[in-house]
């Protein structure tokens, strides 16, 4: 029984499968730790986004209302942009911090360094998308969003979401382990990314000269897929889908490389 091998390439996925019970327990710990001591626990993960959605709905549905668009459409479009973005943002932040926050665990138990990162990202996306699914049913029941057969493809979109977010976290987590400034840069990047990504708007709302550049954003592809599946909107441009796929591959490729270089060396940084 030697040191757990450094994860490389497809071995990363194989390692996650081989240690699936450990990964499941880490996800469970991650979820429980979020709400440890809180009387209402998981409910806060629903209340917080719901209040923000209501606030944005008020602003864009009433204050800056577009008379050509029904308020329900505005709310549904915001819902399909904001909730996946919150999942992405939370998973990116928690995944980036995972190695530092779980350093004491990594110092005591032999496990691939990828597992805490994956657990943090999966837990974050899972919690947020659970709320997304719940509110989707609520909106469907009150007629804001019409149920569609395409909703059966939501697990596929969710898988792409998890793949993008965990890949990004795998890349950022080792960097943050070595240089703490990375978290500040990530927070700044997310703040800018929120406005550069079609979260509060759709690509079609942009002027033509900006639409092309904005299409290169991988999140344009992801959020466009969510709106397409949930609301029946147009599929995002093929450029966005290629960008999304490329971002997933690049993030996992470089994330695997960086994590493998710090595997077994957490004690050198924490």
């Amino acid at each position: 029984m030697g040191l757990i091998p450094a994860t490389r390439g497809r071995v990363l996925v194989e390692a996650a499968i081989a240690h699936r019970r450990l990964l499941i327990e880490l996800v469970r710990r991650e979820v429980r730790a979020r709400f440890a001591g809180a009387r209402f626990g998981l409910v806060w993960s629903l209340i917080n986004p719901a209040v923000q959605l209501a606030a944005y709905g008020l602003i864009f549905g009433y204050v800056y209302a577009d008379p050509s668009r029904p308020r329900g459409t505005v709310t549904a479009t915001l819902f399909c942009g904001l909730w996946p973005w919150w999942a992405f943002q939370e998973a990116a932040l928690r995944g980036t911090a995972a190695l530092v926050e779980q350093a004491s665990l990594l110092r005591r138990l032999p496990m691939p360094a990828t597992l805490p990162v994956l657990a943090a990202s999966i837990a974050s996306v899972g919690i947020q998308m659970l709320g997304f699914a719940l509110f989707l049913l609520v909106f469907a029941s009150i007629g804001v969003i019409e149920p569609r057969a395409a909703w059966l493809l939501l697990p596929v979109v969710l898988a792409l979401h998890v793949a993008l977010t965990t890949g990004l976290a795998l890349f950022l987590a080792p960097l943050y382990l070595v240089v703490r400034d990375v978290m500040h840069a990530v927070s700044l990047g997310l703040m800018v990314g929120f406005f550069l990504s079609p979260v509060l708007y759709q690509l079609s709302d942009l002027p033509p000269f900006a639409r092309g550049i904005a299409s290169l954003n991988p999140l344009a592809g992801l959020l466009g897929l969510v709106r397409s599946v949930v609301l029946g909107a147009e599929l995002p441009p093929w450029v966005s889908l290629v960008s999304l796929a490329g971002a997933i591959v690049a993030a996992w490729h470089w994330g695997e490389r960086l994590v493998s270089r710090i595997d077994g060396r957490i004690d050198e940084y924490c």
């Binding site: 029984m1 030697g2 019970r21 710990r29």
Partner: protein, 380 residues
């Protein structure tokens, strides 16, 4: 080298280098910085160890010697910068007890999670609860626990996996006396069942009691490795000696200790053991005498005394009246170790004069008692 199948763990020329200021460059380029970088601290250098199945090894040394770093590498929790480690036994670790417990969860919840993380069945939960001996607090949040209760729970979780080999770091130095005693008894029981143990400890008595061999680390380098009592005595002598900053004699030089001649009074004192043995090296229980020599006549040194001191200066015994040219002593009662013989005069009022000559003395032997002298005894 041990037979192929008889060893449980083998560490070969293990080295570990830490970078004082972490840098992104080795992370992005894929290559570690060289150990010659001024930004580096060498925690371990060329440390090798082979542990047989059923053997217990003690790691001793001062704080910062590299014991914990070496243990973490042996346990697979840290990657060595150089060298390799191979394990052939199911490992259990007693490292950083108490870390990882979530304060807001109950002891039971923490135990379930810890067992799941270690790949153990939750059926062991009852056993953990029994061993921890925290009663109803097992169902209470850990934040309500005392330090001792946290340690007992953490220890129960660590010991519950029935490993073939245990790697433990100072675990018996924490907690109250009762907990320390339980830890020691548990480790004894583990060894009695054929377990293999590598234990880092400051408790030399525990090391001598539990372990057949010991390794002394200093500054990340192996200073001594061998039978526990030999290593612990060498270590004790080193830490007690007031001349720690001076070069230590190499093992091959310990067979001779040259007589010291005091130029001021032209006097030398030599301790001789059995016939044919080297000067100033005697054996516990063997014959020994103190011989005086010098240009000065015996009359001017009629009132001489000899103080036998430990390496740290503690007086073990005084011989009030030395005779020229020598004084025959009874069987040497001193236990193996390094001592200093101080020969000095006695003033007319019975006070001590200045020491005239100091002579190092090495006592060898197979006796393993604790203390400074042997007390021969018979049961009534």
């Amino acid at each position: 080298m041990l037979q192929q199948e008889s060893w449980a763990l083998r560490a070969d020329r293990v080295g570990k280098v830490y970078h004082v200021v972490p840098s992104l460059r080795p992370l992005l380029n894929g290559g570690p910085k060289g150990p010659d970088d001024s930004n580096c601290v060498k925690a371990l250098t060329d440390v090798s160890l082979e542990v047989a199945r059923g053997e217990a090894i003690a790691l001793i040394g001062a704080n910062g010697a590299g014991k914990s770093t070496f243990l973490r590498i042996l346990a697979g929790l840290s990657r060595p910068t150089s060298g390799s480690v191979v394990r052939r036994a199911r490992l259990g670790t007693l490292l950083e007890l108490g870390a990882g417990l979530v304060d807001e969860w109950t002891g039971e919840s923490n135990a379930r999670s810890a067992l799941a993380l270690q790949g153990a069945s939750s059926a062991r939960l009852a056993e953990v609860a029994r061993f921890a001996e925290i009663g109803r607090f097992f169902a209470e949040p850990v934040r309500t626990y005392s330090t001792g209760m946290r340690l007992r729970l953490a220890y129960a979780l660590a010991i519950g996996l029935e490993p073939e080999m245990m790697i433990a770091d100072e675990v018996v130095a924490v907690g109250d006396e009762g907990f320390q005693r339980r830890c020691a008894l548990e480790l004894q029981g583990f060894l009695g069942r054929g377990g293999t143990l590598v234990l880092a400890t400051h408790n030399l008595y525990l090391a001598e009691k539990l372990c057949q061999r010991a390794m002394w680390l200093e500054g990340g380098v192996v200073r001594a490795c061998g039978p526990t009592q030999d290593v612990t005595r060498t270590y004790r002598d080193a830490i007690r000696s007031p001349r720690r900053d001076q070069a230590r004699p190499r093992p091959e030089d310990l067979d001779r200790i040259d007589p010291v001649v005091s130029d001021a009074v032209r006097l030398s004192a030599t301790v001789r053991g059995a016939e044919g043995t080297v000067p100033n090296v005697v054996t516990t229980g063997g014959p020994w005498r103190i011989e005086l020599a010098g240009a000065a006549g015996s009359d001017s040194h009629a009132d001489l005394r000899a103080d036998i001191r430990r390496a740290d200066g503690t007086l073990v015994a005084r011989i009030d009246e030395l005779r020229w040219p020598g004084t025959e002593l009874a069987a040497c009662p001193l236990l193996p170790g390094r001592y200093v013989v101080e020969v000095g005069g006695v003033g007319s009022r019975g006070d001590d004069d200045d020491v005239l000559v100091r002579q190092e003395l090495l006592v060898r032997g197979a006796r393993r008692e604790l203390g400074n002298v042997v007390l021969e005894h018979e049961w009534a």
